[in-house]
Amino acid sequence: MAIKFTTEPQNARILSVGAYRPARSVPNSELVERIESSDEWIQQRTGIESRRFAAADESLIDMATHSSLQAISRAGLTPEDIDAVIFATISYPYQAPSAATELLTRLNNSTAAAFDISAACAGFCYAVALANDIVRSRNAKNVLVVGAEKLSDFTDPDDRATAFIFADGAGSVVIGPSQDVGIGPTVWGANSETRDAILLEPSYLEYKNNPDRTELPWPNIAQQGQTVFRWAVYEIAPIALRALEGAGLTPETLDVFIPHQANDRIIDSLVKSMKLPDSVVVARDIRTSGNTSSASIPLAMDALLAERPDLHGKSALLVGFGAGLVYAGQVVELPPVPKST
């Protein structure tokens, strides 16, 4: 028998973006004592001046609900219009059911397809790639993509390598049908031989099988900063350029560059290696948001569009990279002026 499948592709684009930043802004001065560091050292190494930490009783899903309702409203849609939810995160504290289904309950939409993905700081770009393919193949009309993290729950405030880097926040986009191609081909992959450069450990089982907990801490992020920095500055620029080329653009014809906000020095290095001209607007949300992993790109996109409304509808190169080590990049058309605030 022949299985039938609708073959005519449906073009897709980002219809809207929404963001949620927790209220509490935490300056470097609040963290430095426990890690024997200084505001100057942190700013020089990372560009981070402050970051947002969620309140103790504010959950990952609380944050994701805010950013998602904003994105859905800005697209001129209601939660019932969402056919699928892809939730990129590494900090949802349940193995099952998924963060995506908990979000559905908050949106009062009980029926959309919903699942989580684990691709760390590349999670948002992985999810955009999937959402684009889902819309193109007509398996869903409107896909809600969420990148959200509450990394303060999984960061050791005494770890000199990570305490000042990671932060909390949520970003959402709605990806839906469009007249023209609004999302270019994705360049993605992994360098899994450096898998141990960023880890969340111990595992659930190690924790369970060690009842007295004496030697075994709660799972926190551990990062080999220089290994990750080296990988990022060496490997990511060529990947981003391939994504640009795949979309038929060049550094000269690109409008905006929104890399994962890992470290301002990595962003500097990427801009230099890719030879991006001054005409390209570069997102630098890291300075006041820290590294929010899967949330960093939509948060940076939202901040940029709030500051520069003229950038709505312009071309933007997104590239995410992180624990795995995994990466993904694609060119998108930034969402149009919102249908509601």
Binding site: Q44, R45, Q226, R230, Y234
Partner: protein, 81 residues
């Protein structure tokens, strides 16, 4: 073909000037990356990545931590090219 010390030093100078934004005149074999040239650990990574590309050598992380001076880097590259 092995690279000469002079050729590698000239190449390293170019890289350090580009990465650290300092004057080429003060770069010499005995200068320390951190103390004399203000090249911090992350800039050092950028220098190493650029040097690997320029000279076609592999510089492992454990070697990078041993490179205190310009001369240490130049000699490693000359001996491993």
């Amino acid at each position: 073909m092995a690279l000469t010390q002079d050729a590698v030093l000239a190449g390293i100078k170019e890289i350090v000037v580009e990465v650290a934004g300092i004057d080429a005149g003060i770069i010499a074999m005995d200068k320390k990356f951190t103390d004399d040239l203000d090249v911090d650990s992350l800039s050092m990574v950028e220098v190493v990545v650029a040097a690997e590309e320029k000279f076609g050598v592999k510089i492992p992380d454990e070697e990078v931590t041993k490179m205190a001076t310009i001369g240490d880097a130049v000699n490693f590259i000359v001996n491993n090219s």
